[in-house]
Amino acid sequence: MSPIRSYDTTTETAAKTTTGSLATVADGKKRKPGSSGSQKYWKSLRSSLRRDQSLYLLALPGLLFFILFKYVPMWGVLIAFQNYFPFKGMLGSEWVGFAHFARFFAHSDFILLFRNTLAISLLNLLLFFSVPIIVALCLNELRSMLYKRIVQTVIYMPHFLSWVIIAGLTFLLLGKGEGLINAMLEAAGRPRIDFLTNPDSFWMLVTLQAVWKEGGWGTIVFLAAIAGIDPQIYEAARVDGAGRLRQIWHITLPGIRGVIVILLILRLGDIMDVGFEQIFLMYNGAVSEVAEVFDTYVYRVGIQQGQFSYSTAVGLFKSVIGLILVLLANKLAKRMGEDGVY
């Protein structure tokens, strides 16, 4: 994969495949000025600061932003090791070490959160990962470019809709009282079905929602990989008498294997991330046992009940596991001969 250039794409998944540019960034930083040259470095920095004042001025708002809104909260996670009370402040609050973590690990919610997060993530991995590949293969086989464009235009669109809209559409279609499906069932003389408050089907429901929203958009990266396959290989296969299906199986799929592998590994890396907004919006009392994931739990316990230290500890635990997984996934990707992301 070569780097996706500049503003061409701004979606995170697509950006994750911009292997080249980020790798260079990381390489650049490893070469820090050595201790012998550090005096020289400071001197040239001072003169650079004087010479290009306005350049540093230009960087100032961004720098202040990153420090205030990205790094101050990183310092703020320390309250996970305190009994934080807002009126006492961080300096006045008592330090308790890992007490909140210990309490969380011993709590029955811990297993529940892990189970729900893993279940939803793995279902996602199974469906939400395979659907875009299959759809991309199908799109690639279409002869009519106009038809292909129409289908693409329609299936990319939900990517840009908010989760509130998606949840709204879900309620209005599947809701027990107001949903279209149930109104039709009733008109046909059949009993209404409870799609939204059934704990047995909740995981499937949120997975299908995610597929509906992002499945089409996910095809882009695979279509790009397919477009990169040398057409001569197909010609040779045709001369040898291979049909469409054999060409897909023996040329297209092996041709995009690298992309599939790296995306799969990256997905494994953020297995702890189950979208807060989606789960929060689909959450209801009947499905709470299967719907609570880390972020919704942090919101409920932290924001709604005001247990700041405890919920920060839960959030920190999730972030650290997530960080480790991403770094491991990246290492794995590199070992598989891909460029890696960081």
């Binding site: 794409t9 540019s21 920095l45 350049l55 709204g168």
Partner: protein
């Protein structure tokens, strides 16, 4: 060209499958759109409508004459316009400075940006910070914390890297400082790219839900997404009556559908541009070289 029979069957099945897929994606929006424009009495009578006999704007007229709904639309429009402009200013100035070779601090600063992508401290520290800053219940709580993010700065820097370095150098030789070069030479040249980034920011601001849920308790400040979420709940707390009048409201389902359509409309209006910039760009970019 001779086609084998098997190939033709395959083509037909494939076309049909993708057509069905597009239909499944399109249908929910079609249905909500149709019902929102149906005459309320027809909807109440039939319970579901796939194509109305009598069209009506009643649901829309009702929503727009309430107090809460137009107010939320205004809040969201404010976020999308002002937020986007602020985000573009902060992100692009920072990214431009990072792309300059004369900027000796660019490596440590890039590391600073990169680390924020790798690790996030979670919801609560962000919430406490916004609270300490006194931004709770202010629309700025949705703008200031999302002025920039690591990915966008990296992508923007990539874009500025691709501009010829001579542009800035010749301006500097003529005695122009970096701020002036950025304002008068770089930004005008980057307008297409900035428009693409701006669209991306604007959609983000319009769709913002979680931060609004966290930081805004006061219904008067709610953007459209939070209002919509509240309307969708069975126990809605939002007051959707028309002040000073006793007008009978259309069925709540229809109000919900009309709100969904209103909230989708700005996205649909910019969608052709979004698709052009992001979908096509993503493909071209990743195949090249």
């Amino acid at each position: 060209m001779k086609q084998r029979f098997g190939d033709r069957v395959f083509q037909a099945a494939n076309g049909l499958f993708l057509g069905l897929l597009a239909l499944v994606t399109f249908f929910p929006i079609y249905y909500v759109f149709i019902v929102s424009f149906t005459d309320p009495s027809e909807f109440l009578l039939k319970k579901f409508v796939l194509f109305p006999q009598k069209w009506s704007l009643e649901a829309y007229e009702y929503l727009l004459s309430t107090k809460a709904f137009p107010r939320s639309l205004g809040n969201s429009a404010f976020l999308a316009v002002i937020g986007t402009l602020c985000s573009l200013a902060v992100s692009s100035s920072f990214a431009y400075a990072l792309s300059q070779r004369r900027m000796l601090l660019r490596r440590p600063l890039m590391l600073l940006v990169l680390l924020t992508i790798l690790f996030s401290p979670g919801i609560i520290p962000h919430y406490l910070l916004v609270r300490e800053l006194g931004l709770i219940n202010s629309l700025w709580s949705l703008i200031l914390p999302s002025l920039a993010n690591g990915w966008t700065v990296l992508l923007m820097k990539g874009f500025f890297d691709s501009l010829p370095a001579e542009l800035g150098e010749s301006a500097a030789m003529d005695g122009s400082g970096a701020v002036r070069t950025w304002l008068t030479i770089i930004l005008p040249l980057s307008l297409p790219a900035l428009a693409a980034f701006g669209l991306f920011f604007a959609v983000g601001y319009w769709n913002q839900f979680f931060s609004a849920l966290l930081y805004l308790n006061d219904a008067a400040q709610w953007p459209i997404q939070v209002l919509l979420q509240n309307m969708l709940k069975s126990a809605s707390t939002i007051d959707l009556t028309i002040p000073g009048q006793h007008v009978e409201a259309p069925p709540s389902e229809m109000l919900k559908m009309a709100s969904v359509i209103i909230a989708i409309t700005p996205i649909l209006l910019v969608y052709p541009f979004l698709q052009k910039h992001f979908a096509k760009g993503a493909m071209v970019g990743s195949v090249k070289g």
